[in-house]
């Protein structure tokens, strides 16, 4: 499944770039993320609990940041597997300064397997878009509470 879109993050480009790669911010912004532990350079082990109405599932996976071109683009690779299936998202995030902040464009693919793919087909697209929206909304909120933000913190 291909996904693409863009969000406005109301902070300058350089700051948006740092926010988007900060594990603390990522952990708080990714829907359902319980823990994010560093396991290597730009690589984190993640546990998440996805809850969507009655549907819920624990996922165990990895978050990886690659092809980082400071302040303009990077790839975010998120993969996870659990009893109800597995997913892998691979997206290129592109940052451009605009009035009022930074436009973060994303373009990539989401692969889903297992039960969620087989029985949730009707809702995959809606759900993926909703998760991304929630991520950016949380990120925007995080960027506003600047005091809580610590760029060097690693869990």
């Amino acid at each position: 499944m291909k996904i693409s879109g863009s969000f406005l993050v109301p902070v300058p480009q350089e700051r948006a770039f740092r926010l988007l790669q900060d594990p603390v911010v990522l952990a708080r912004s990714m829907p359902g993320c319980d823990t994010l532990e560093r396991i290597g350079d730009n690589e984190y082990h993640m546990k998440m609990k996805m809850v969507l109405a009655s549907i819920s599932g624990l996922f165990d996976g990895k978050v990886r940041i690659a092809d980082s071109r400071p302040h303009s683009s990077f790839r975010l690779i998120v993969e996870g597997a659990g009893r109800i299936g597995f997913m892998k998202g691979d997206g290129l995030l592109t940052l451009t300064p605009v009035e009022g902040g930074t436009n973060v464009g994303y373009e990539g693919t989401v692969e889903v397997g297992g039960t969620i793919a087989a029985v949730g087909q009707r809702l995959l697209d809606t759900t993926a878009r909703m998760m991304i929206k929630r991520f950016f909304e949380k990120l925007t909120a995080e960027s506003a509470s600047s005091g809580a933000f610590s760029p060097t913190a690693i869990l």
């Binding site: 109405a53 009655s54 819920s56 029985v119 697209d125 878009r129």
Partner: protein
């Protein structure tokens, strides 16, 4: 097709039910038409299920002071066949008749359906067009939320932890109003690929009020406010219907692309409005 272990409670009163759901992760079971399939597929694995089946007095349909009150455990079949609903909120009766199949309509409830908030469910379009209110109660609170603030996103509602849907409050339709619910049903799931609820009031030859709710097209049901305004200011059905999908993201799946869903929303809005208009006097 076997669910995981779960605890099960069947409280005998509303008070007891609210106390049970006040703490911990509790899942409310009403008709079970959404929850049970998910549990059998193990997509849902609640630790504790609270069944409302034995809570008395939640399956009422009453009318007073221009409002129809519908208890949370009223089934789709009850709504579809209720003389009160058919007489005073016929749009809702028409929508209820489109839900699932006979078995689902005999078991499924309005409270369960709206709390689940499937983006392709039938009720939300009508509840938006009817400007219904949803009453939510918890052990400590009792509040009423307009339908437009209730459906937030796919499977996401204004229900807070500890709350349950107590009743749905629908302002009565006037007998002179025209109404219509039209639906493109998915051939496998029966869910609305697109569903459009329309209400029209006329003053002479002119449209004095138009309400349009659209479900299935987007991640949540929405009101087509622009189209309503156009109709109320003298525009024709075709011109108004052409705007219903504007500014909305559209879902896509194996059956229908986002563009086709938008197209269907426009076509079926026009058809629903035409019927509603012909029924208005």
């Amino acid at each position: 097709m076997i669910p995981q272990d779960f605890e099960y409670s069947a409280p005998a009163s509303l008070k007891e039910a609210l106390e049970l759901i006040a703490t911990g992760e509790r899942k409310i079971l009403a008709g079970g038409m959404s929850l049970i399939p998910l549990m059998k597929l193990r997509l849902a694995a609640p630790e504790h299920v609270v069944d409302l089946a034995r809570v008395p007095g939640l399956d009422y349909i009453t009318e007073s002071g221009g409002t129809v009150s519908i208890g949370a455990t009223v089934t789709h079949h009850d709504l579809e066949s209720s003389p009160v609903i058919r007489g005073r909120a016929p749009l809702l009766a028409e929508a209820a008749g489109h839900i699932g199949d006979t078995q689902v309509r005999n078991m499924g409830t309005i409270g369960g359906s709206i709390a689940h908030a499937d983006p392709a469910a039938d009720y939300p379009a009508s509840l938006l067009a009817l400007e219904a209110q949803i009453r939510l109660v918890s052990a400590k609170s009792d509040r009423t939320v307009p339908a437009s603030d209730f459906f937030l996103d796919a499977f996401t509602t204004a229900i807070e932890p500890g709350e349950l849907v107590l009743e749905v409050l629908v302002p009565t339709e006037e007998p002179k109003e025209g109404y219509r619910y039209e639906k493109v049903a998915h051939p496998a799931s029966g869910f609305a690929v697109v569903g459009v609820a329309a209400r029209i009031k006329k003053a002479g030859a002119k449209i004095s009020m138009a309400r349009i709710g659209v479900t299935g097209m987007s991640s949540r049901a929405f009101r087509a406010l622009e189209a309503e305004k156009l109709l109320e200011s003298g525009a024709g059905v075709a011109q108004a219907a052409a705007t219903v999908a504007e500014g909305q993201e559209a879902n896509q799946d194996l059956y229908a692309s986002a563009d086709y869903r938008r197209h269907l929303a426009r076509i079926w809005a026009a058809r629903a409005l035409s019927v509603a208009l012909s029924r208005a006097s």
